[in-house]
Amino acid sequence: MSALHRLGVAETARALRARQFSSVELVQALLARADEQRALGAFLAIDAEAALAAAGAADTQLAAGDAPALAGVPIAHKDIFVTKGLPSTAGSKMLAGYASPFDATVVARLAAAGTVTLGKLNCDEFAMGSANENSAYGPVHNPWDTTRVPGGSSGGSAAAVAARLVAAATGTDTGGSIRQPSSFCGITGIKPTYGVCSRYGMIAFASSLDQAGPMARSAEDCALLLSAMSGFDERDATSAERPPQDFHAQMLAVRDGASAARPLEGLRIGLPREFFAAGLSADVDAAVRSALAELEKLGATLIDVSLPRTELAIPVYYIIAPAEASSNLSRFDGVKFGHRAAQYTDLLDMYKKTRAEGFGPEVKRRIMIGTYVLSHGYYDAYYLQAQKLRRMIADDFQAAFRECDLIAGPVAPTVAWQLGEQGDPLQAYLADIFTLPASLAGLPGMSVPAGTGAHGMPVGLQLIGNYFDEGRLLHAAHALQQSTDFHTRAPAGF
């Protein structure tokens, strides 16, 4: 049973139904493995007892033959989702040991689908970061090279899936936090259209950008998880009102004129020239182009498109996200929950010390930026201007989608960098350039393994679809994964 951890979501679900092994056996194996791999820093909390109990219950259902789709499949959640049983910290000292009285909608839906929660995964504090070096609970190491970062903010999720600690994990993506760590760790991740997954129970970073999504080892696994975790939620006023989606079926749907050899026949993939401009490192460029060539072989046609405001996405995003964050994080004041300073002279001093102690440097920086751009006299010049440019960026995508069905490019300009290498936080902002535009527009985006670049580190191919076009994204990614093995490669020793 030593190879159980190598199985993906679909394989595990099938094997459990076939009673090849029990969910309890699997969970036991994964708990042992998580324990061996503590040094990765992926897990922040594990509840072995609860996991084994849930696995046992799943086994009973499986035996009775009335088990839900993902019965007994172990997963773990990014610690930005609140959970009733496990502590919910958002990677922040502010919420050390915080006990939520309710489960996030995404967590509850995945549990209802039968998944077994192993624990909570490390992430950048309040999902702010792209290297997972901003967690109050220490960094996460990239399994491909433990001296390198896993990416962020869903770094714990990406590392855990890449290291085969779990078959899949949840993540959240505000400016690239699912796609970029998936790319850095060589796994598959999808950020759906804004509104597809409920934000209820996701500790808010930037409300108009935050989206939850699955991170796994294949497009198929992502499709299975996304079907379970998505859907309308009356507790989220921005949740899209539409019937439940079977993304797995959409992924398998056969295109008109497609053949076994050319499953993507007629699919037009647009390559924004701005995504292949200066700043993109040669190794990433090469890997991405080889994956694109593969897509071409599968029947897709590559066409040249333009997203002229790609560079502007950086200032626009870094105005809007901090502005919303500065307001969303005001509730952390030491009154109702979370950290409160031990020493203070009065109420004002309690607020200031509590927040100074509870928040890390990156969070403080963004609160400062957000507070400033919303403050009197600056709103129009910064926040309003950014929201107008945001519409222009969204319109650019619609123009591009008149010429193509999907947009493809790199996820990040480089492969994962060394821990501690990225000294200047503002330089890190610039590295988000390829993931920010889709986030601002609220479009679905994916990272699909596309081989390796410098230092043998993974490179991700980014696929961007039009609104609610997750099916088409997953279909293309699945086709690629049927003809390549990038996604099955595991880091040495894992």
């Binding site: 989702f81 609140v82 919910s88 958002a90 919420l95 915080y98 939520s100 009285p101 309710f102 996030a104 934000r199 209820y200 129970g201 996701m202 500790i203 808010a204 930037a206 409300s207 108009s208 009356e234 507790r235 989220d236 006023a237 921005t238 502005a323 919303e324 500065s326 307001s327 994080l329 005001s330 509730r331 004041d333 009154v335 109702k336 929950f337 109420l347 607020y351 507070t371 919303l374 403050s375 009197h376 709103y379 926040y383």
Partner: protein, 482 residues
């Protein structure tokens, strides 16, 4: 526009911001109860407490009430309005921001009318917007700390903002009373001022006539009409004193202390003027379709102003009476029932404004709690009208009715021997006796002294033990002496 007496040469300028708690079952952005008086924080759900991960979902009932108000004051109900975040730190504000409406409110414009010294006044409204109430800070000592109860947090509020159209504390009170009556009439607010359901903030400034507006100070949370007047009167004198001493008025938020009758600037919220408003990304634009507005319009009760006009037009009531009859929906219903039963609108109005109101005020009860029904009052008025009982007699009967001695008007008139003597034979006999026994007065009357005539009538009334109908008696006397 009416002119107002200047105070020490200054013109008073007052504008209002009124917070009316909307009478919904649940909160504006959560499913927690809005019931008043529950144990601390037992009606504060995760959304109200701003627990991590929670999100607001807006309450249709609150929006519907805002539409009702907008229609009632003749305002524009915005087809699209925006919820915005007002950011500031305060322990009773769980999220660190209040969800309110800023640039585009749901109700725009409109006006509220009322009578002041019998003259119709109209105050323009700037806007009315939906927002959430804050919790409560309990300042009595909890080991030297303040206790926070968030049951009230998230209770729907309609903040009604007036233009600075008011020119005296008396006018301010009439405006506040009219607005209070209106929201209660519409059924959108219970109007309970003790429980804070209807709270007034008054923006007060003074200026010499013709000058631009002076710097205003905002008196917060006035929860009684009496305090409102006292607070404004004190504030006006305070501001004038300062100006007369050559000192400037600084814009400030002040509190009224009912014990001292004084206002003083608040120490907290000093730096709260940079609220960093921005559209709430958790709440898309509030869209109100025309058919929704029409459905609300169709379900609206007749408005007090229109009803008052109807009472003037159809019942011939004076404007003042009509306004009094429409002071509340219950009052108007009582009036209409009694008027229908006796067909004497003016008499009904007189009784309601006089004997009835006197007792209601004395007992501090509303007309819905009056022990005398419209039908009974109508029966009594009928007996006054047909001369069966004199006005004084009727007052005694009414006392008995109110005191619960009985409900049958005629029986009470009999029992108390208050029936007027309408049998002319018996009256004629008395008149003859009085003429015979008062030769001196008769002489004086014939000499042209009206006083003497009144004395003779008085004698007749006395002899009849008050049961004679004075008019009838006078008529007979003139005939016999004429």
């Amino acid at each position: 526009m009416a002119t107002f007496p200047l105070i020490r040469g200054y013109e008073v300028v007052i504008g209002f911001e009124t917070h009316a708690q909307l009478s919904t079952e649940s909160k504006i952005f959560s499913g927690a109860s809005t019931r008043f008086g529950a144990a601390p924080n037992t009606q504060a759900c995760p959304v109200d407490l701003a627990l991590p991960g929670t999100l607001p979902v807006a309450n249709r009932g609150a929006v519907e009430r805002a539409i009702r108000f907008g229609l009632a004051v003749g305002a524009k109900v915005a087809p699209q309005s925006i919820f915005a975040r007002k950011n500031y730190f305060y322990p009773d504000l769980p999220k660190g921001y209040q969800i309110s409406q800023y640039e585009i409110p749901v109700v725009q414009g409109g006006s509220v009318s009322f009578l002041l010294d019998g003259e119709k006044r109209s105050v323009r409204l700037t806007r009315a917007h939906l927002e959430e109430d804050a919790g409560k800070s309990l300042h009595e000592d909890y080991h030297g700390q303040t206790g926070i109860d968030l049951n009230r947090a998230g209770t729907p509020l309609l903040e009604i903002v007036s233009e600075p159209d008011l020119r005296s504390s008396a006018e301010a009170v009439e405006y506040a009373k009219a607005l209070h009556a209106l929201v209660v009439w519409l059924g959108i607010c219970d109007g309970n001022m003790q429980e804070g359901s209807f709270r007034c903030d008054a923006n007060v400034s003074v200026r010499h006539p013709g000058e631009p507006f002076g710097t205003r100070r905002e008196i917060k949370n006035l929860n009684s009409f009496r305090f409102l007047q006292q607070a404004i009167d004190f504030e006006v004198q305070w501001q004038i004193d300062r100006l007369e001493d050559g000192l400037a008025i600084e814009q400030a938020t002040v509190l009224f202390n009912p014990d001292t009758g004084e206002t003083r600037a608040m120490r907290s919220k000093e730096d709260a003027h940079d609220y960093r408003y921005f559209p709430d990304p958790d709440l898309p634009p509030l869209v109100i379709a025309p058919d929704w507005v029409e459905r609300v319009r169709a379900a609206m009760p007749e408005l007090p102003a229109l009803m008052a006009e109807r009472f003037q037009r159809d019942d011939g009531l004076p404007a003042y009476d009509a306004a009094m009859m429409t002071q509340s929906l219950d009052f108007a219903r009582f009036y209409e029932a009694a008027r229908a039963a006796c067909g004497q609108p003016k008499l009904v109005a007189n009784w309601l404004m006089g004997e009835v109101s006197k007792r209601l005020n004395a007992q501090q009860i509303g007309i819905e709690a009056a022990p005398v029904t419209p039908a009974t009052l109508a029966a009594l008025i009928t007996r006054v009208a047909d001369g069966t009982v004199s006005h004084n007699g009727a007052r005694q009967v009414f006392d008995a009715l109110w005191g619960g001695e009985g409900t049958d008007v005629d029986a009470l008139i009999e029992a108390k021997g208050l029936k007027q003597m309408n049998d002319s034979g018996a009256l004629e006999k008395i008149v003859d006796e009085v003429i015979a026994a008062n030769a001196k007065s008769v002489e004086e009357f014939r000499a042209g002294k009206d006083k003497a005539f009144n004395a003779l009538v008085g004698q007749v009334m006395k002899a009849s033990k008050g049961k004679a109908n004075p008019a009838q008696a006078g008529e007979l006397l003139r005939r016999k002496l004429g």
